[in-house]
Symmetry: C2
Subunit: 306 residues, 2 copies
């Protein structure tokens, strides 16, 4: 379980590389018990954004990081929080739902402005970004990205959430890079992931009738170099990812199979592959905040499949 | 028609940027007539790889380029050519078919070794790459990448091939960034692309019942920054691409629609979105080579959709 889903940028790859060095491998569960207790506070306590960030960061090894994309994308640290939304992508639709729920703090795993560093000048004069910022400012909605920190949590918050939702926690062993499940066909594993994670369509490379047991799970978009390196090293029966570069990982897997490899690939879709981690964040965070409501709004897949 | 499908690497982005500067826009057809005549040679003439590359490059503006990924990935320039295969990805399967056809020269649009520069040390010790190289060497198969040059040809070879196969050449106007077709629903356009280009499944973001006429066509994987910039500038009714980064272009399009934009997105898949350009290469190249056989072997989509 490496569970360091990333975008394929140098900074992001460096973060992966550093994390692998620090953890000495693909560790999901580094301690047998989860730190779920947290601070049980009075139900009526008010929090600022800064206070909530502090409560979270004190449970993240090595936090705060000197270099991280996990910054406030809108709002201010001193803002009083009326409610918290967790989600994968802080889409305009998610923001509107947050406004309806009177929740002014969105904790999002992925970028707000369509690029990894949320550079607002990535496409100069971006009219969509401008309208999104206006929507956020008009409604005093704060967004904090919670990517690097949630992956650095032990267990990795995204990996843990996905395994939990897939019903596979029982098969995970701390420190092991692969999850070994009872043998099942690639087709059955695919169907299980679709039904348990609530995904309508996935893309697969492999023989649907082949038996798989040794699972490599890398939700998100870790990039081809990381995904291919993982397969070369661990030789899983199936690699399960969120997103691939077709010309990198997909072509590598296709060639590998033509040369006799049995490693299959399941591509879940980026948003739906990591949303269980942001759903799990509710369960992890709510007990630390007393009565302040924490709600997951799934950002869902953007695609219609035709 | 910008038709500079690329991988999202700095070098590749620079190539796009330079090309756009040189051509002053997204020019597919820079001259009213196509240069199809070429050299009609004796049917029994033998060619080396170098001679074939020279025949091709003399029709590419500005060739040879100082910096390009279009290099020989295997084989040698002095090798005698027994037959030519054109394809998108020189997969192991395509190589095996080439061997069966006694064709020892593969002209491929995309990488051989799973990364844009075909760096064989991208993943050190890559066992799949090693076996692929052995297969190539054992059978004396040469691979030349033909990416930058084919896009720089006027008309852009990939864009021309796609428009031709889609039956849309009649709607293209030289120098215009968009192709304006008779209004049709997004659903009908999607179905037309699937049937005319031979694609089984596509992913769409948008209202399938909306009318579209102004088409932005960017086959391949041009990267989010280029795709988003194109939409911001040209506001097409629908953008048709090969591959997206979900966290960039897909999320931008989704937010844009939530804010009232009518620009839809169709994601065809990388290989199938550009293969018509390598199919068209046969028609373009064959008359220049007398009796030396040129054959397109489609690399096809790697995915099963479940």
């Amino acid at each position: 379980m490496n569970t360091l889903p990333t975008n394929n940028t140098p900074g992001r790859r460096k973060f992966i590389s550093d994390t692998l060095k620090i953890t000495g491998g693909l560790t999901l569960l580094s301690s047998p018990a989860l730190s779920m207790a947290g601070n049980v506070l009075s139900p009526n306590k008010e929090f600022t954004i800064r206070e909530i960030m502090d409560i979270i960061l004190k449970e993240i090894p090595g936090a705060p990081f000197q270099q991280t994309v996990d910054t406030l994308k809108s709002g201010t640290p001193d803002q009083k929080v009326t409610g918290i939304i967790t989600t994968m992508f802080p889409t305009v639709n998610v923001i509107k739902k947050a406004i309806n729920l009177n929740a002014n703090f969105i904790i999002a795993h992925e970028p707000s402005f369509y690029n990894h560093t949320d550079d607002t000048n990535w496409v100069p004069g971006n009219s969509v970004l401008k309208q999104k910022l206006e929507l956020l400012q008009k409604n005093n909605i704060a967004i904090w990205r919670f990517h690097d920190y949630w992956h650095r949590h032990r267990p990795d918050g995204v990996g843990y959430g996905v395994l939990k939702k897939a019903g596979w926690l029982q098969y995970y062993k701390a420190g092991e890079p692969l999850v070994v499940i009872p043998p099942a066909t690639l087709k059955n594993i695919t169907q299980h992931l679709k039904s348990s994670l609530g995904i309508d369509h996935v893309r697969v490379i492999g023989d649907l009738s082949q038996q798989c047991s040794r699972i490599g799970l890398i939700p998100g978009a870790a990039g081809g170099q990381m995904q291919v390196s993982f397969v070369e090293k661990e030789k899983p029966d199936v690699l399960i990812v969120g997103e691939v570069h077709e010309w990198e990982t997909a072509e590598y897997i296709r060639d590998a199979q033509s040369l006799g490899s049995k490693t299959a690939l399941i591509v879940l879709g980026h948003a739906v592959s990591e949303e269980p981690g942001m759903e799990y964040l509710v369960e992890w965070l709510q007990p630390k905040l007393g009565g302040l409501k924490v709600t997951n709004i799934p950002s869902d897949s953007p695609f219609t499949w035709v």
